[in-house]
């Protein structure tokens, strides 16, 4: 009885001492709790990451015989027409898909939060493509596009325009449902009295949308924009399955460029293509790719943090 009463009294120093002793008992079990994750984390991330940075500075055909060459690989990357094409192609793709996906997803979310019949059913249907893997999605859509284009005697593999817009349609189909879920969560958080007050003050529905709804879902908009941007940059499976980079074009200086190849696929084909001497260059590409994607991620973190402080 005595014992419990001393502990439940909120005297700060005693509590602190107690916390410390709790920590000490826990520390004895450190290796049980942290060990498995630590070992796996070193195998699956830390070591490959460090080794990857080292290899990007090396020239090698097999990983056991490396020769340090400094930034030579990086210089090669910027002279690689295929990589530069893939970079601009990916950037264009990411921006176009970002705009389309977010506008459409926001419109669908607005429609589904108005209490129309069958909202739940529509939500279920729109989200479904997210559960299907990228490879399978790519083949489903390549069948459909070829089914349409074969009527005109062509194929998605023959024109880079078809490949680009085909991939955009595929990504819209897959991601609108995902972004819609985030927007719906944001829209449902808008206080009802705020909307009611606007109505009483005689605001039109367009005014309500731009002055109340959109400012209130800004956090969701930021999240969705960054998600679709990084998704666009990291896209691999769908790109591989839909076109695999075809059609192939020849650039003016004679190098072969795969016209619908995105960054991730370009890195992959450089690693595992026919030229095993290019693996150092491939790793340098991977490091540049990492810096790009991580930069986007950090920018997102900085912006969302700022927003949180303001609130």
């Amino acid at each position: 009885m005595d014992n419990t009463s001393t502990i439940s009294t909120p005297s700060a120093p005693k509590k602190k001492r107690y916390k410390n002793s709790y920590k000490t008992t826990m520390r004895k079990w450190c290796w049980l709790f942290l060990g498995p994750v630590l070992i796996a984390f070193i195998i699956g991330f830390v070591w490959p990451f460090i080794w990857g940075i080292y290899l990007s500075l090396c020239k090698f055909r097999v990983v056991s015989e490396t020769e340090l060459v400094g930034f030579e690989n990086y210089i090669k990357v910027f002279k690689d027409a295929g990589f530069m094409h893939a970079f601009w192609y990916t950037a264009l793709f990411a921006v176009v898909s970002l705009v389309l996906i977010n506008i459409l997803a926001f419109m669908v979310a607005l429609a589904l939060t108005r209490g129309i019949k069958g909202s739940n059913l529509f939500r279920t249907v729109f989200f479904m493509p997210n559960l299907i893997g990228g490879i399978v999605l790519g083949y489903i859509w390549s069948m459909i596009f070829d089914g349409i284009l074969s009527n005109f005697g062509t194929s998605i593999l023959l024109d880079s325009k078809y490949g680009f817009w085909g991939l955009i349609i595929l990504m819209c189909w897959q991601q609108i449902g995902y972004m819609m879920i985030i927007y719906i969560a944001g829209l449902q958080n808008i206080p009802d009295d705020m909307l009611e007050a606007a109505k009483i003050d005689g605001a039109t529905s367009v005014q309500t949308l731009f002055k109340i709804t959109i400012p209130n879902v800004m956090p969701s908009i930021t999240i969705c924009m960054f998600l679709s941007l990084t998704n666009g940059f990291k896209l691999f499976d769908q790109n591989l399955a839909l076109t695999g980079g075809q059609p192939i074009t020849m650039s003016p200086d004679g190098t072969i460029v795969k016209s619908t190849e995105m960054l991730a696929l370009n890195i992959y084909t450089t690693f595992y293509g026919s030229n095993s001497g290019a693996q150092g260059t491939a790793q340098a590409k991977a490091v540049i790719f990492f810096i790009l994607v991580a930069g986007l991620g950090l920018a997102q973190l900085a912006i969302t943090r700022k927003k949180e402080v303001q609130q």
Binding site: Y22, K23, T25, M26, R27, K28, L32, L34, P36, V37, L38, A40, F41, I43, G44, V46, P48, F49, W51, G52, L55, V63, I116, K117, G118, F122, T124, V125, M128, P129, N130, L131, I132, G133, G134, I135, V136, I140, W141, M143, I144, D146, G147, S150, W173, I181, I182, F233, K234, F236, D237, L240, A241, A264, Y268, A286, V287, F290, V293, G297
Partner: protein, 286 residues
């Protein structure tokens, strides 16, 4: 009068929206329906008459499924089996190990813990292409190329997100509950399994669903790590149908895609609520 009019207008808007949404839903279901239809169509007609209902000479019955089962000299059921094994083992391993680590990190919070936590957050922004070459070499050297050992690779590469989410959640749990258990003579291991795990359950479901969706659909990691002569997963199997053979049996491909979509749709319809909740939670945090 005006109120009645306004209400009528609103009803009309709602009706129009319902019709538009129904039409979009049809567009959404259309590709999946096409897969189902084409899996019963003879191979030669899939490309020329993609949108036709299979009848007469187009009808192939279950031929496509029979061909698909052994297509590419690798039985399809084996791919399904390995996909299930890899997904279940990986997700179970990730959930158990990362909750333990997250609890320790959140409660002890030493410099060592902070370093691990920071590295985890950092790993979340690293794309797979950055480590894929060195990771597959490392996994090869350590003989992690079987379905029974690849979960370790998944744990390593996927720990970041899980630890990030769990640490955030553990910090929200009041310490007093664990202290009470400790006073009653409960050691850290028992406290963890009897007190912390039950409280973490909702978050574990969310994280588990995110990880299931990732591992089940993942193509590149198992493709690079697994010994492909022995072990394939469903995405690898489907990629092989198209990849390495000159002529592609589109009918068989559609049949296998149809078969691989069915369990996903069933899973989705059963766990719909949890999936959508998990996705929303994961997106807001990540």
């Amino acid at each position: 009068m005006q109120i009645v009019k306004k209400r009528n207008a609103e009803e009309k808007v709602k009706l129009v929206l319902t019709i538009i949404m129904s039409l979009i839903s049809l567009v959404y279901i259309f590709p999946v329906a096409m897969v189902a239809i084409n899996s019963f169509k003879k191979n030669t007609f899939v490309k020329t008459d993609t949108f036709a209902i299979p009848q007469g000479e187009m009808w192939a019955g279950f031929d496509n499924f029979n061909v698909g089962m052994t297509f590419g000299n690798y039985p399809f059921w084996k791919s399904v089996l390995f996909s299930v094994v890899i997904t279940l083992l990986s997700v179970a391993l990730i959930l158990i190990c990362t909750t333990m680590a997250a609890w320790y990190i959140a409660r002890v919070n030493s410099i060592f813990c902070k370093i691990i936590y920071f590295t985890c957050v950092f790993s979340m922004v690293v794309p797979f292409q950055m480590v894929m070459f060195t990771l597959s070499k490392t996994a090869d050297t350590l003989h992690l190329n079987t379905p029974w050992t690849i979960p370790i690779v998944y744990l390593g590469f996927g720990a970041g997100l899980a630890i990030f989410m769990f640490v955030g959640f553990v910090k929200a749990i009041p310490l007093e509950i664990e202290e009470a258990a400790s006073i009653d003579g409960c050691g850290p291991v028992r406290t963890f399994f009897m007190i912390v795990i039950p409280m973490l359950k909702p978050t574990m479901v969310s994280v588990g669903i995110l990880e299931i969706m990732w591992v089940w659909n993942d193509y590149l990691l198992p493709y690079l790590v697994l010994d492909l002569n022995e072990y394939r997963t469903i995405p690898i199997h489907i990629q092989y149908l198209k990849g390495s053979y000159g002529t592609v049996d589109l009918g068989a491909t559609m049949a296998l895609i149809f078969l691989s979509i069915i369990p996903v749709v069933v899973f989705y319809l059963i766990f719909q609520k949890q999936i959508i909740k998990g996705v929303a939670a994961g997106a807001v945090k990540g």
